[in-house]
Symmetry: C2
Subunit: 538 residues, 2 copies
């Protein structure tokens, strides 16, 4: 009955505490809430906050913004989960002071009011330390002493008295917000990053690394991790801090795709890197044509230590028909009534070079464990950043579990969701734990739709869980503007991506060389896409 | 793990179930929700609903609106609390059928697909009644029989098979929305009403009731309930269905206000009806100048039975210094250090003719019970509609308790909140149980601000708990537009109020006679306000 303050509409909070809100290390978490009471009494509000492993709460003040909206902030300086909540109470002393100032300003004679103030100070003294109690009792004494109104006003409004009274404010009937809000603190790169995507197998006839490898590379038909290493200087010189490689694993041969997504591959066609797995291994192996696992580890280490750039790996949870899993764990796939394994499809389209996992298999625990172990494996190889292929076609429950487990052990690892799907599913994946998400930026090309989209992305609730990354192009998206807009379009789209979002990326060589020819009119696929061919970039 | 459907953003729901959503008897409750899953499987969703006293749930279908938003509705035909929730599941048969249609449209030969469908139908048969089981098994048989594609397609896509399969859909892994949402069903008048406010003591020199009382009334200096009765025909002829009377109780004499809010009343000045209580009684008495309690009861009965209009009473929880409560229950008021009782104030303004109750008095239980008994008393006299004065200056907890108790016993009773306060407090009061609320309409006079305000009022979340009533004027609000806009302004504001909200009202005679002179320039008070004088209307 005496807890008269209401606290609601707290941000950041995601789905009433169902999911963690997101912050990044080194920044302040800015908390807002509607805080109000009946009548006109003055309210004091504070944020209580702590790292989840700490025993004690710290306190940060909140200020009234207007319209009963309050704001405060607290710092988060290390990775992991922080908790916060809000406490607010009616402050009779501040209420009395506010009213007293109005009465004095109106020239009223208010001896009784000073006596009332003395009573409030005297009550507060009982809650104070010995030293402060003496000070407070003496202030109360003076307020009761019947001096001139000017004298009494000076005592009543002294800043020091205000501070002492605030320190011993009666919180007995404070309202505490109903929940302790979880805030997940991620590395700064989760929020602020610039990505460069390249196919490691593609050739560069004139590498600008200045290390004289041009001739050697050009004579071969497939580049390697060593060649990528030689390009690091070039990539970082442009300011990128994540180098994202499509899958680096052995590529299947059954139903291998040829150039331009042809269903027939000629001998020598390298296949799509997303058709993962062959007799040479699966998700924990590297394509021998790219080098060895040791080469890969060296690339990752060199990139981070010498160039300050993270190598991001592609997690595509799917198999070519030749993947060892198909033989060793046939129960992880769906079977058709004729006994064959169900390939991927989006009826009537068929993707016979890909077998999706059956996440609901009776053997799901073993499957899920194995899928998580793939991430663990690459973390052990030094990878800290993952780009996840089509997460929206796998169960939400899987991501929540997998990302949660990885986060517990490795809060330094970052996942980008390639969630090109409907908005609510995209948002759900971000809530489940993905650090960043692809967006609709590639299809927002007018001023009004960019403005509308940016408003959505930069306000609550979306800003509390969703970190957008803007890509002008990807190997799957050559949009209309780039196809027809020429150099000005490439420049404009790059500048928009890089300035409108704190994370952006380009699918590198194709963007730099302004590739703009689609596979066929109306298609967003590149002609001679690197997905199916080894390209030689000039 | 198998419960893959997500249900969220359900409307109507108020503060995640903290408060009841509102509906009115005879209408459909329209329920919407975001419902989606990973991947592209087809979902079926239903609303489960029941009156809270019923044991069994009824079911209503939901349809996909687009963008993963679903909608359905259920009827509510009596007053009280209804519950609803949502259930949704992945439907493998509908998914299979959708994909089959795409495959057939693309001209694919799909014998294996019919076999897969047969399996789904066979599984479903096990869940069916004897009769349906036979039908289903025979359909499965035919799908497995290897007929022509056209024959099999006819079996697969038959509407009757669809109906049977829907009836036995496997709901084992259905998602059920986390909460059972409370919907409070109110009388239609809570949503749809037209109010006429008049001071019963004021005189009409030419009443249009056509009953020849003009001469008699004009000779007196104070009208009565009998005179109001004679005006009922006039008021209902204009289409109003609520007649709202300011407080009808005895008026205090101490610090009684004179004309135009003067702090000095001359003998014969009637005082403000909101300064309630004198030696003649308090909140359960009627001002003898208006008549007897029997007269009042007769007015209420005649109004409802003969004219189809409800008399609304004003609940103003405050006392004049002469109220019997002040003498009998001094502990229900705040005392100043000098021993006097604290009058109402908004520093530096003082309202010495009014003593507010101390809702936090140690004796609060007795006070709250007594305040509720006032409402009970007037309900016993036949009143069904109350207008509550300044509810935002009394504790939220009081209203939640009081309105909840009254609703339990009398769901037919309606409360209008005179919550002219900040938006969040106004909304809170609506959530706590007030049926209708005054609004900012009087200060929304431009096209853009009316459009903005109406958008807010007619969308979730506000529409789920807040029923606006639009008043172009009240005894406290003579806005700028009416002061200066002349007859066109009065017409425009009336038409806007009556057409933009399903409830509206006017402060009658002053509006009809286009009173537009303020007490002083810049004031929204009427010159010679009826609040302080008996007016004689022509």
């Amino acid at each position: 009955m005496l807890r008269r303050v209401v606290i609601e509409a707290v941000t950041p909070e995601v789905d009433q505490g169902r999911f963690s809100a997101k912050a990044t290390s080194g920044e302040d978490v800015v908390v807002e809430a509607d805080i109000f009471t009946d009548g006109t009494d003055v309210i004091t509000a504070v944020i209580l906050h702590r790292p989840c492993e700490a025993a004690d709460w710290s306190e940060a003040p909140m200020d009234l913004l207007g319209n009963d909206r309050w704001r405060g902030a607290f710092p988060v300086d290390h990775l992991g989960i922080y908790l916060y909540t809000i406490k607010a109470w009616i402050d009779p002393f501040l209420t009395w002071r506010r009213d007293l100032e109005k009465r004095l300003a109106a020239g009223q004679k208010v001896p009784v009011e000073f006596e009332r103030g003395a009573g409030l100070v005297r009550d507060a003294a009982a809650r104070a330390s010995d030293k402060d109690r003496t000070t407070l009792l003496s202030a109360a004494e003076r307020l009761s002493s019947g001096g001139t109104q000017a004298q009494l006003a000076r005592v009543a409004l002294a800043p020091r008295l205000g501070k002492l009274m605030a320190a011993v404010a009666d919180r007995m009937h404070a309202t505490r917000f109903a929940r302790e809000v979880h805030v997940r603190v991620d590395p700064e790169k989760a929020r602020f990053s610039s990505w460069y995507e390249m196919f490691p197998r593609s050739l560069w006839s004139a590498p600008r690394s200045g290390k004289g490898q041009a001739a050697r590379v050009a004579q071969r038909d497939h580049a390697t991790f060593r060649d990528v290493e030689a390009r690091l200087h070039y990539v970082t010189a442009m300011g990128f801090d994540v180098l994202y490689l499509p899958p680096v694993h052995p590529i299947g041969r059954t139903h291998r795709k040829g150039p331009n997504n042809s269903t027939v591959a000629k001998p020598g066609d390298p296949g799509s890197p997303w058709a993962i797995g062959s007799e040479e291994g699966g998700h924990k192996a590297v394509n021998p044509a790219l080098g060895t696992l040791a080469d890969f580890r060296r690339l990752v280490r060199t990139a981070r230590d010498k160039h300050g750039i993270d190598v991001a790996l592609d997690i595509a949870y799917q198999c070519s028909p030749d993947h060892p899993y198909v033989r060793e764990h046939p129960q992880w796939f769906r079977h058709r009534p004729d006994g064959t394994i169900q390939y991927a499809e989006n009826p009537p389209k068929k993707y016979e070079d890909i077998y999706p996992f059956d996440f609901q298999t009776k053997d799901w625990r073993a499957l899920w464990d194995e899928l998580k172990s793939i991430v663990d494996f690459w973390i052990e190889q030094g990878v800290r950043v993952f780009r996840v292929d089509n997460p929206h076609t796998k169960p939400f429950a899987f991501w929540e579990w997998m990302l949660g487990e990885v986060y517990r052990q490795h809060p330094e690892v970052i996942f980008l969701a390639e969630a090109f799907t409907r908005p609510k599913i995209m948002h759900r994946l971000a809530k489940l734990g993905f650090h960043q998400s692809y967006t609709y930026f590639a299809w927002r090309n007018q001023k009004w739709d960019l403005a509308e989209y940016l408003s959505e992305l930069t306000t609550s609730p979306v800003q509390d869980f969703f970190r957008p990354i803007f890509w002008p192009n990807t190997p799957d998206i050559l949009n209309d503007v780039l196809q027809h807009g020429g150099r000005p379009a490439f420049i404009a789209r790059l500048v928009l991506a890089a300035t409108m979002s704190s994370s952006y990326g380009i699918y590198g060589p194709a963007f730099e060389l302004m590739q703009h020819e689609p596979r066929e009119p109306g298609s967003e696929e590149y002609l001679h896409s690197e997905k199916y061919e080894v390209r030689s970039w000039d």
